[in-house]
C-alpha cells in the first residue's frame, strides 16, 4: 500500500515532465518583509529574461511559481521547496537569497531529481552540499578579494576591517585579510559590529583611533549602509583622508539615491554594475526596468536571476524537457556566455560562476543621479572562498 502510494505520487510528479508541455520553475526568495527589494529584483531579472528570450524552450512553456520566505528561515524554505517539488511538480528550483534557506533545500535535490540554481546566496560552501547545485550570482569571497589588491595599489598599507557580525561579514573580513596580507599589506584591526547597529559614530571613532590609512567595510545592502556611509562622512573620516574600500553590496544601485553625495568616490568591487557598458546590458536594463516598474529599484540580485534563467533554459534545452537533474547540471558545466555583466562561465568543478569582478567608483551622472562607474576589471575570477574553506 505504502509503496503504491509513493509510486503514484512519484508518477504524478514525473508526469509533469514527460507529457505536459509546461515546465515549472519554483523560485524561492524574500518577496515581502525587510528584504522585499531583493525579491523584487529576482522577479525583475526573471521577467526580463523571459521578455527577451521568450517564455518557451523548444515546445515547452515555462511557468514560474514564486514562494516567499521573508527572512532567513530554513524550515519554511524547505517546506516550500518540498511543496514546489511534490505538489506543484517543478522541475527546477531557483532563487534563494539567504544561505541557510539554500542549505536546507540541498538534501532534497537528489531524491527529487531537481537541480537548484542559486541566484544570490553567497556563502562559498553551498555548492559543496549537493552536486545538483549551480550558482549564478557571486560569493562574498569572490567580490571581496580583489578590493584588497585595489587598496594596496592605492598606496594604502594599513587597513582596519569593519564588518557586520554574521556569516557573510566574516567571509568578507577573511577574504580581504587573506588578499591584503598576500599583497603585503597589514590589517591593523578587525572589528565585527552587530547587524542591528543604528549609530555608527562610535565605530568611526574606533577607525580614527586605529591609525589605519584605509577602512574595509562590509554591511548587508539596505538601511544600515546609509547610516554607515553618512557616519563616515560626518565624523570627518572622508575629509581626514581615510580611504573607504568595500564589496559592492554597500553601494547597490537602489541605495544610491538615498546615499547620494555621501557615497561619492567610494570604491567597491563587485560582479555587476547596472551602468555596465555593453549592448547585452543595455538590453537587460531596458527589459528589467520595465519589469520592475521603477528603474531606481534595480539592483544586483536581478542579474543573478537573469543569468540563472539562462542556465535553466540551457538545461531544459539539453534535456529536451525531460526531468533529469544530473544530465541538466552536466550540460551547463563549462557553459560560457556573454552575460549583461560581461563574459561568464560555469566552472565545471565547483558549478559556481566564473566572472569578471569590476572596481567601481560612485560617480554623479550628468542628470544628477549617482551610479557605480566601472574603472578597472579583474578578469575571470573564480571563487577563492572554496579553497579557503577547505
Amino acid at each position: 500500500m505504502k509503496r503504491t502510494f509513493l509510486a503514484a505520487l512519484a508518477a504524478l510528479a514525473m508526469s509533469g515532465a514527460a507529457y505536459a508541455d509546461t515546465i515549472k520553475i519554483g523560485v524561492v526568495g524574500p518577496f515581502s518583509g525587510p528584504f522585499a527589494l531583493q525579491g523584487k529584483n529576482f522577479k525583475a531579472g526573471i521577467d526580463a529574461y523571459m521578455a527577451v528570450n521568450g517564455s518557451k524552450v523548444g515546445d515547452d512553456d515555462i511557468e514560474i511559481i514564486y514562494r516567499d520566505v521573508p527572512q532567513a528561515d530554513p524550515a519554511q524554505s524547505k517546506a516550500l521547496a518540498q511543496e514546489l517539488v511534490v505538489k506543484e511538480g517543478v522541475q527546477y528550483l531557483a532563487g534563494f537569497y539567504f544561505t541557510p534557506d539554500a542549505m536546507a533545500v540541498t538534501p532534497l535535490l537528489e531524491q527529487a531529481n531537481v537541480p537548484l540554481v542559486i541566484m544570490n546566496a553567497a556563502t562559498s560552501a553551498i555548492v559543496t552540499k549537493s552536486p545538483l547545485v549551480v550558482r549564478t550570482s557571486f560569493t562574498t569571497w569572490q567580490t571581496s578579494t580583489p578590493i584588497a589588491k585595489v587598496a594596496k595599489d592605492a598606496g594604502v598599507s594599513k587597513v582596519i576591517s569593519v564588518v557586520s557580525d554574521y556569516g557573510p561579514g566574516v567571509d568578507a573580513e577573511n577574504a580581504f585579510k587573506a588578499g591584503f596580507e598576500a599583497a603585503g599589506g597589514q590589517v591593523v584591526e578587525a572589528i565585527r559590529m552587530p547587524l542591528a547597529t543604528n549609530d555608527f559614530s562610535p565605530i568611526m571613532q574606533r577607525i580614527k583611533d586605529s591609525g589605519a590609512e584605509g577602512v574595509f567595510a562590509f554591511l548587508p545592502s539596505g538601511p544600515t549602509t546609509l547610516g554607515f556611509v553618512k557616519a563616515y562622512n560626518e565624523n570627518g573620516l572622508k575629509s581626514g583622508g581615510i580611504k573607504f574600500f568595500a564589496p559592492g553590496d554597500l553601494t547597490q544601485e537602489s541605495d544610491l539615491p538615498a546615499l547620494g553625495e555621501a557615497a561619492l568616490g567610494i570604491q567597491t568591487t563587485f560582479h555587476y554594475a547596472v551602468s555596465h557598458d555593453s549592448p547585452e546590458n543595455k538590453a537587460f536594463v531596458e527589459a528589467a526596468s520595465k519589469a520592475i516598474g521603477n528603474p531606481a529599484e534595480l539592483s544586483f540580485p536581478s542579474i543573478g536571476a537573469y543569468d540563472g534563467m539562462h542556465v535553466i533554459y540551457k538545461m531544459i534545452e539539453a534535456t529536451g524537457g525531460e526531468q533529469d537533474a544530473q544530465k541538466a547540471v552536466d550540460a551547463v558545466k563549462g557553459l560560457a556566455w556573454t552575460s549583461p555583466r560581461g563574459p561568464v562561465s560555469i566552472d565545471p568543478e565547483s558549478r559556481h560562476i566564473t566572472q569578471n569582478i569590476y572596481l567601481r567608483e560612485v560617480a554623479k551622472a550628468d542628470d544628477g543621479t549617482y551610479y557605480n562607474k566601472e574603472v578597472q576589471t579583474f578578469e575571470k575570477q573564480g571563487d577563492p572562498g572554496l579553497a579557503a574553506v577547505k
Binding site: 505520487l9 518577496f31 515581502s32 514564486y66 516567499d68 528561515d73 517546506a79 518540498q82 511543496e83
Partner: protein, 334 residues
Amino acid sequence: MSMTTTNDLIAERPAKHRFGGGDLIGLGVILALAVIGYFLFPNNLALLTRIIAIALLVLSLDLVTGYCGVATLGHAALFGAGAYAAGIVSAHYGINDPIAMLAFGIVAGAIAGLICGAVILRAHGLPQLVLSIALIHLFHEFANKASSWTGGSDGLSGIAPSALIGLYEFDLWGRTAYVFGVVLLVLVFFILRLIVRSPFGMLCRAIKEDPIRIRSMGASPKAALMKMYIISGAVAGVGGALNAISTQVVGLDSLSFTMSAESLVMLVLGGTGSLFGALTGTIVFMFFEDVVSAANPFHWLTMVGALLIAVVLFAPKGLFGTAAAFVARRREAK
C-alpha cells in the same frame, strides 16, 4: 457517610470535568485533522510538519502566558535551544538517532526554560515583556557568536537523522517526519491536558489570578512558575527538535524575536489559556499565511494584518475562546 458523600460528589461533577471525555474528543480531533491533512495535502507534508513544530511552540507558550499570565516576547529561545541541541548532537557528535536527538532537545529546552524563567519572572507587565525581548536577543546573539557550533547565520547544516526506530527513513515526501510529528503532538497534547487539570495546573491558574492570595495559602508562586517554565521549555524543546529533525538545518530564525512574536500572535489569535486555542491559532495563522503568501508573495502581509484586526474586532477572546464562549452561551440558553 463519607463514602456516599464522595460518590455524590463525583456524580455531580459538571460535564466538562468528566474525566477523559474532553481529552478523548480533543485527541480524536487532532488525529482526525492529522489524517485529513495527510490525504488532503499529501504533497504538502513539510508544511504540515512545520505547523506541528510551531504548534508545539505555541502550546508551550500557552503554558506560561495563557495559564500563568507571564507576558513574553522571547519564547522562541526555548524552541531554538531544543532545535540547536538536537542539531548539534547530530552534526557534531554523530548522535543521529531521532529519539536521542529529541531527548537532547527536550533537556536543552528545559534548561533554556530554567534560565529564561529565572530572568523573566523578576518583573511584571511591560518590564517583563522587555526582559523577554532582551533575553531572546541575547540567545540569538550567542548562537550567532558561537558559529563554530551553530553555523552562525549560515545555519547549522549536516544534521542527518537516521531512520526512526531503525525502520522509517526521513524521506523527500516528509511522511516519516509528519507521522513522527503527529505522534509527538498527540503525546504532548495528552500530557499537557493532564497537567493543566492536575493540582499543579490548578495552582498555576490560581497564581495567574492572584499570586498574593496563593502565598497566603502557603504556596510559592515563583517556585510554581519556575516549574511551569521548565515544563514549557521541555515542550518547546520537543518542537525545536522536531524542527531540526525534519528540516535538517537549524537557522538563527529559530531563536529570533520574530518567531517569538509570531508565536504570541498565533496564541492570542486562537485564544489564550486553552490548549485548543493554541492549536487553533497556529493552524489558522499558518494556513492563512501559506495560502495568501502563495496567492500573492509580494503583498500578503496586508492580508495577515487585516486578519489580526478582524479577529480583535469580531472575536476578542481569540477564535477558539470566542467560539467556546458562544457554545457555552447557547448551552446555557437551552
